[in-house]
Assembly symmetry: D3
Homo-oligomer: 217 residues x 6
Amino acid sequence: MNLLLVNPNTTQAITDRLAAAARAAARRGTRIVAVTGRRGPAVIRSRADNAAAARECLALARAHAPGCDAILLGVSLDTALAGLRSRHRVPVIGMSEAGMIAASLLAPRFALLTFGLHMVPVYRELATGYGFGARLAGVAAVDFAPTAAFSEPAKVQAATLAECRALARRGAGAVVLAGAVFAGMRRDLQPRCALPLVDGIQCAVALAEAMHRLADR
Amino acid sequence: MNLLLVNPNTTQAITDRLAAAARAAARRGTRIVAVTGRRGPAVIRSRADNAAAARECLALARAHAPGCDAILLGVSLDTALAGLRSRHRVPVIGMSEAGMIAASLLAPRFALLTFGLHMVPVYRELATGYGFGARLAGVAAVDFAPTAAFSEPAKVQAATLAECRALARRGAGAVVLAGAVFAGMRRDLQPRCALPLVDGIQCAVALAEAMHRLADR
Amino acid sequence: MNLLLVNPNTTQAITDRLAAAARAAARRGTRIVAVTGRRGPAVIRSRADNAAAARECLALARAHAPGCDAILLGVSLDTALAGLRSRHRVPVIGMSEAGMIAASLLAPRFALLTFGLHMVPVYRELATGYGFGARLAGVAAVDFAPTAAFSEPAKVQAATLAECRALARRGAGAVVLAGAVFAGMRRDLQPRCALPLVDGIQCAVALAEAMHRLADR
Amino acid sequence: MNLLLVNPNTTQAITDRLAAAARAAARRGTRIVAVTGRRGPAVIRSRADNAAAARECLALARAHAPGCDAILLGVSLDTALAGLRSRHRVPVIGMSEAGMIAASLLAPRFALLTFGLHMVPVYRELATGYGFGARLAGVAAVDFAPTAAFSEPAKVQAATLAECRALARRGAGAVVLAGAVFAGMRRDLQPRCALPLVDGIQCAVALAEAMHRLADR
Amino acid sequence: MNLLLVNPNTTQAITDRLAAAARAAARRGTRIVAVTGRRGPAVIRSRADNAAAARECLALARAHAPGCDAILLGVSLDTALAGLRSRHRVPVIGMSEAGMIAASLLAPRFALLTFGLHMVPVYRELATGYGFGARLAGVAAVDFAPTAAFSEPAKVQAATLAECRALARRGAGAVVLAGAVFAGMRRDLQPRCALPLVDGIQCAVALAEAMHRLADR
Amino acid sequence: MNLLLVNPNTTQAITDRLAAAARAAARRGTRIVAVTGRRGPAVIRSRADNAAAARECLALARAHAPGCDAILLGVSLDTALAGLRSRHRVPVIGMSEAGMIAASLLAPRFALLTFGLHMVPVYRELATGYGFGARLAGVAAVDFAPTAAFSEPAKVQAATLAECRALARRGAGAVVLAGAVFAGMRRDLQPRCALPLVDGIQCAVALAEAMHRLADR
């Protein structure tokens, strides 16, 4: 099957990281087409960036969806998700939505971890909007810009593990790593973390494969 | 004061209609700068159109906000409202948000009326997202495309009045005309309608003037 | 236009303070008629006081509304608001409701500040009842009786500013000063506070003027 | 034990009806002191009447509560309930609250029936405010003024039974007769109705007796 | 009247404690038939235990309900409550539900106290599911297994009182002792606690007697 | 991978139908172990049946989970789901939960269709409890007992298609067939239905495979 992975921001390195994580999760026979925004924010760090990125999601999907069996949003605010879903007949799956679905199947209560304290309420609204409010054990953030995942990976990883331990004490049974630059980081972190960690884009790939499998049963 | 009226769709006639209604409501000394999208949907008729229009809202606001005292969204889904509000220090006011605020001050329960039956749940979500769910007596639609307001105004007006009568029977104490092309239509319709009708963009102008007045008290 | 400002408690000094703040915000041509309860609590400091004050709101409004274009509730629990709204055809606007509307136009999330820790849940219920639950960054209180605003104004102001700083750290983008005796205090406090402060009765005046302006467009 | 039954409206005949129903339900040893408002609405038929009646509830309770073991609100909007509860140390029980509690113990879903179509949303808000929103199978009204229960009892009873049958078809497992003038009517109606009917003031008596019994265990 | 008290867990000592507390609350003429699960968990300490105990509730009720006038759930998660209520025509009352109803009549806001920190979110969900979310001042736990109520009663009581003091500071006006092994402990604790303590099974008895009384009025 | 499919009711024919549908959806390498309740209801047709079946879910899972990589609930009320999830470390997936997840990825709004009008509110509560309340376009039922799917399949299928057409008119973009006996019926029905139909147990298989795939990425 063909999956379109849409990263609406303009940073190719983030697309590359997402695509690598997606491919590591994909089954044989799944082809990932990853596209990057050409206009819009370099990284999405605010409600405004998120709104600004919506059209690029639509435009990239319109341009590249033909021939694809599902559309994955490689942006952790799941930008333009409802809009894409109303336009396309193939499944449209947000990476954070997918992560929360997976976490919800693993534990009675789960948490989100993202970048930047100012984004905590935004992700809480995202989870609540999906109906997961009663399942949330907490929303936390590492106090770094997302780009620190490239420039200071060790510090980011250490902070991530520390926050996960704190979230476990608040009753989380799993943690969704909510940030595009977290993609693929789970592989390194999971062995050092008692709670299951959830990589959103990998979940999105797996859900898309599941939906595709179902379509012709 | 200077008000920026942002119509993110690309139809100048809609901007003109919005601007005329806005100017009819504005006080002496209020200047309306109305701008129209250059890219994006001609009319916003779906969740997808709404998402696609978000960046134009941001871009138009960024380009034209300097020197303005408030930003008004001249699009009845209040596209990109939270994003704009997080970026700009001046008040940002959506036309449907403004209409619902006004209606909520007039009656214990109110209703929305829009174009197209498929948009009813979308406007219901909008109202619920603003916290007005318990105040809603109903959401209804005239079964026309928004462009019919230009091409078949008499039919649209007759249907609008019929729906308002039905909404009154459902307990509405006021009706928000939720659609950019409804702008200015209240003047003709109100004399024929027992319920107060609310024109969103005019409310947005009045709220912006109120906020401006308060800022230097 | 004529605005009726109803203070249902029996303390004339509070009415005077509210009326002064209201007049400072009013436009030329707006006349404020401020009336004070003759029976009922001297200050509203509990759920019971609030209930006890409801009839005075109704009675004062009935007696003085003729000839007025809007009714403003000069009581920070917005006593009897729904009841007044169902009885009067002119807009009825609560001072805290107005403050929250204004704050909601200024920032994605805002806070309330009131008098007395025991009132915190009561104001939280008020905000939630208006549908602003998801917008609340916090509800806090200065640990004084409302009358301290007269007897110890410097202490109250210092505590208010300290609480505002704490609310900013919790993510508030604006603070509604929820208490009738806060009326007019914003003028002194705003220069010393990084967050926008919102004066409820002044917002109510401005909203009433906005509604009046709209009524004959 | 001594129960204070507060009817804040000024119609003695309604107090008499409530008191008779209450006494029919009371255990030996329970004394009912029923008091009637001296100021305020004759019958509560709107949100405004309800607000206007609040102080009389407080005043009557303050005057007559000494020596009483519980306070019952003999008004079907449970006027001033939270206010009374914050002021008095004895249990305070609203008649509709009591009816809904009883109905909730009898069936997974229940309904309310009141007087006047315009009151349907008001009772829906009341039930929702108590947390019973998810248990509601419906809210209906007989299209009479409450006084018709005195002047046209046969018509009111016939309409009541017809509405109950309709509510049964909507999935109600019990019906709360929400209106002070319904007091005592259950005795006649129940034999002709398949669904359990719930008389609010009688439930309030029984709950008060239960609370009293518990207090010294 | 005859009350069936169903303890679905298999620990006779818990049934005995519940039955003793129930009988201490019961009126003359009320007979308590207390039955204990024969299969299933010894104590209910998790969501899984709770699910595992549901059938025993149904089976015990089916076997012993004939001749009983109400069914009381002597298990603090109110296991299988909705299921029992849909099957039996007599009132079915959960002990924690009854405790929350009683607490809600005593104070504007109340709290729950249970055993085991991991159970805090489970009881919060229980209260929220009953519609008491907005009334909750807090949910707390003593950090003991329920069996400590038998083996270390003094420690449990001391911890209980300490938690109640903390809950009072959070605004609770009453505390529901949510745990079957708390049954009867209120008698000792109340004199040492400023807040009203609520014993769930005793409330359930009193509510059942109230419902029975009402049935033939 | 090994999947445990738990049907807690005692009807082997239902298990067989579920297992056949599950196997038709499963990938090569997925082995389905389907187990049937030995005690409890023959078919789950009420809230009481659902509660009665919970322990069998726990018992079957405990007995058969060792060696399995996920547990699927082959019962359309997703009996004991939270309990199982708190006990087992492998993913636990309810068939209706899985169906709703899949439907939510396909369309902005979806519907449920089940057996028996009296079950409509029960399924609505299930969906709302999962957080899908705002996504629901409707809940409907064919007015047959579940066993009619065996005895009168043509009638059931015709009624199902008729209801789906009605749900499409209410705005549903997909329909979850919520009933264990619907398993496998989608294959015949989909070609005759314009809306995507969702088979819960097949979705559960696909989600379990997705979760398994992710676990070792």
